[in-house]
Amino acid sequence: MRRRWLKGERLITLLLLLPSVIAVAVFVYGFIGWTGYVSMSNWNQLLPDYTFVGLRNFLKLFAHPRFQIDLRNLAVFTGLFLTGSLAIGFLLAVLLDRKVRGEGFFRTIYLYPMSLSFIVTGVVWRWLMNPGSPQMGSTGINLLLEKIGLGFLKSGWYTDPRVGIKAVAVAAIWQMSGYVMAMYLAGLRGIPEELREAARVDGASEWQVYRYVILPLLRPITLGAIIILGHISLKIYDLIVAMTGPGIGFSTDVPAYFMWETTFHANRFAQGAAIAIILLLMVSLLIVPYLIFSVRREAEV
């Protein structure tokens, strides 16, 4: 009797889950599969053409000068964005953790940029980093540098191909480091004071306390932050659109932007799908190990 009732409950659970399972199956995995299929087709005009061409689109893509630049840009951007956000976020968290006066105020201020969309961030930083010219005068950061007598530090920022994507990374770090701070702050608050005390009693310097006690204990948070920032970074598009566009010599171009242009301007739908698949693979390289890690940990608990 009891077993049959259980069965009924299971059935209801299954029925309740079914709509979302179907929706996810179709709209997420179905479309991923379809994109994969298109990426191996010959769809290079508006009218769909599903002739199978194997991996030709991928091979062409990796030989494409613009895509090579994009991958390099993406690596530079991700590297800078991750290290910058983690470092600044951690630093801010440590400072706030000192039980400073007005902590709530500062916490809010540091967290604010996160509430903006990348579009807003992009527009603001486009103005801030406007290079200006000797004839029309400087604006934004260059004007500030000029006024405080550091004119020699003026830069073309994102318009200078040598800086390019690094300037965009600065804007992204500004936006996301407050979020990392919040994560670390929660982590720091979770570490019992006794552990630090014990380390200090054992003669550890403050530096050693952080290096050998705090940081190892914060590792899950660091990992979580890397996953969250990493997938934002790999998919970055809106910030580029609002701030710079592809830039001179594609110095601020990224795969997602190239995907949009090649699909809807050059009508190379298959090539666009190939870029989408490559982006998916890159993101899964980051996410899948994390998923395995967390599932295992849950199993252990």
Binding site: N44, Q45, L46, R66, S133, G156, G249, E261
Partner: protein
């Protein structure tokens, strides 16, 4: 007598204003009749009955005095008021009306017009067309579906998925020329050959433009205007101050640049924030080094991309980069124009929409000349409107296309937008409605050799335009002449292969 004349004049004026609406005339049934009989009487052919039904129904939506006709074979009572459209309208209706769509016999509904005209003179020009349309077709609700973004780069990305999904607007903006290939017109658009024939447009549009409009032997869009891409704009104040005249060739151009650079003026301004402006500049340089025929041949495979003219053009572009404003990557073309307005920059190469923008900014101290080395050549682009196969209100769109192709529509539109009409049958008085730049532009258009612009969709298919644009963009950073020429050769080979040449 005088009073009678004055009254007549006022009467004519009122009639002109009111009676303007949908071309055609009123018809009152003398006795009980049918639509077919009326059609036989006025057009000499009973097959025109649906056209009269549609026109009368549209009219009755705005004015209940007209009869509402529910079916084609309905009895028309004596004394009922009908509206008989002009013959051309009736012919066009019969040519484009699908008998499987009886809903199109009732008028009303929407007209969704897709375009990338959102700002300044462009938006005003579009509104002028809307006003005319609204006078002719007061029963239709116009929906202005514009999407901003330089040269339509964003708009086109939005319209394509809608075409594939079968949910297009009723009509949308399209550059004349090979850009139409990007819309797979055989599948997604309706050929407009019949409309061109009925409206007599093949007689009033210039041959170069008609050649450009033909793709796979069909017309796919109705042109409203013509723009010129190869114009050098300069600040008169700076030119006068340093005693400079507009350069005729690149040697003169660079000696002017050298002189102005020494004076601390930006000799040449450009923007490239949109990603296409530098490619626009390069296109006009190609016209100058290859000449009209040579440049045209680039896009048909007759001129090899390995030729010396291409190398020379790249060298010129490279040299120009020594004289441009340092912030060009951050500016769009209008941002660059601010240098001229502030008298801080001397010259700029951009299409003649710049003229409208200068006027909107209240800047009058500018002069114009053809891009050095392109005197006698007109690098042209044209905006057209098309009819998607699955347009929800095709007959409303048909009326729109007729307004776009009409003299009245083109004058109203172009005087505001700052371009010249595509039609060449303007009278001297009508030409006088345009500003001095546009008048000189009309003269040049009538006289010069016409070549199609590539970056504005006329000369090449879209994938080629993108590769061309990308090669130039990369060149801005690498300044690698040989490498860029190689990339351009490869792009041409791929595109010509795709076009089956």
């Amino acid at each position: 007598m005088r009073r009678a004349v004055a009254l007549l004049f006022v009467g004519l004026l009122v009639w002109g204003l009111v009676g303007w609406a949908q071309p055609g005339k009123e018809y009152v049934a003398a006795s009980e009749t049918t639509l077919a009989a009326v059609a036989q009487e006025v057009f000499g052919d009973s097959a025109y009955a649906p056209a009269i039904m549609r026109a009368t129904n549209a009219k009755s939506l705005a004015d209940p005095a007209y009869l509402k006709i529910r079916t084609l074979d309905m009895k028309i009572p004596a004394g009922a008021k009908l509206w008989v459209p002009e013959r051309a309208w009736a012919e066009a209706f019969m040519a484009f009306w699908d008998p499987n769509r009886p809903e199109d016999l009732f008028g009303g509904g929407k007209l969704v017009v897709g375009s990338w005209w959102t700002a300044g003179g462009e938006a005003e020009g579009l509104n002028a067309l809307f006003e005319i349309y609204d006078e002719y077709y007061p029963d239709v609700q116009i929906v202005n579906a514009t999407i901003a973004g330089g040269a339509g780069f964003v708009f086109r990305a939005v319209i394509k998925p809608r075409l594939i999904a079968g949910d297009p607007p009723d009509t949308f903006q399209l550059h004349a020329g090979l850009e139409v290939e990007g819309y797979s017109p055989e599948t997604y658009l309706t050929p407009l050959d019949k409309l061109f024939e009925i409206m007599g447009w093949t007689e009033v549009l210039p041959k170069d433009l008609l050649d450009l409009l033909l793709y796979k032997d069909h017309f796919w869009g109705v042109p409203v205007n013509i723009h010129r891409a190869n114009v050098l704009w300069y600040d008169k104040a700076i030119f006068e101050k340093y005693g400079i005249t507009p350069p005729e060739n690149w040697d003169e151009f660079f000696s002017i640049c050298e002189k102005l650079k020494a004076e601390g003026v930006v000799p040449f301004v450009m923007g490239n924030a949109g990603g296409w402006e530098a490619a626009h500049l390069f296109e006009t340089i190609l016209v100058s080094t290859l000449g009209a025929e040579g440049y045209k041949g680039l896009w048909t495979g007759e001129t090899p991309w390995t030729s010396a003219g291409v190398t020379e053009a790249l060298e010129i572009l490279k040299k120009i980069l020594d004289y441009v404003n340092p912030d060009y990557a951050a500016l769009s073309w209008d941002g660059a124009g601010e240098y001229l307005i502030a008298h801080k920059g001397a010259m700029m190469i951009m299409g003649d929409w710049t003229n409208g923008w200068f006027m909107a900014k209240g800047y009058e101290d500018y002069g114009w000349a053809p891009v050095p080395g392109t005197r006698g050549i007109f690098d042209a682009l044209s905006d057209t409107f098309c009819l998607p196969k699955r347009a929800p209100n095709p007959i409303n769109a048909l009326g729109w296309l007729m307004v776009c192709g009409s003299k009245e529509g083109q004058i109203a539109f172009n005087t505001r937008k700052g371009s010249i009409p595509a039609r060449t049958d303007l009278t001297a008085e009508e030409k006088a409605l345009f500003n001095p730049y546009l008048q000189s532009c009309m003269e040049d258009f009538a006289r010069d050799a016409i070549v199609p612009s590539v970056i504005h969709g006329a000369a090449a298919i879209e994938s080629w335009v993108t590769d061309f644009k990308d090669a130039v963009n990369l060149f801005l950073a690498t300044k690698d002449v040989a490498g860029t020429q190689r990339a351009l050769v490869e792009a041409a080979e791929a595109a010509l292969a795709q076009m089956g040449k």
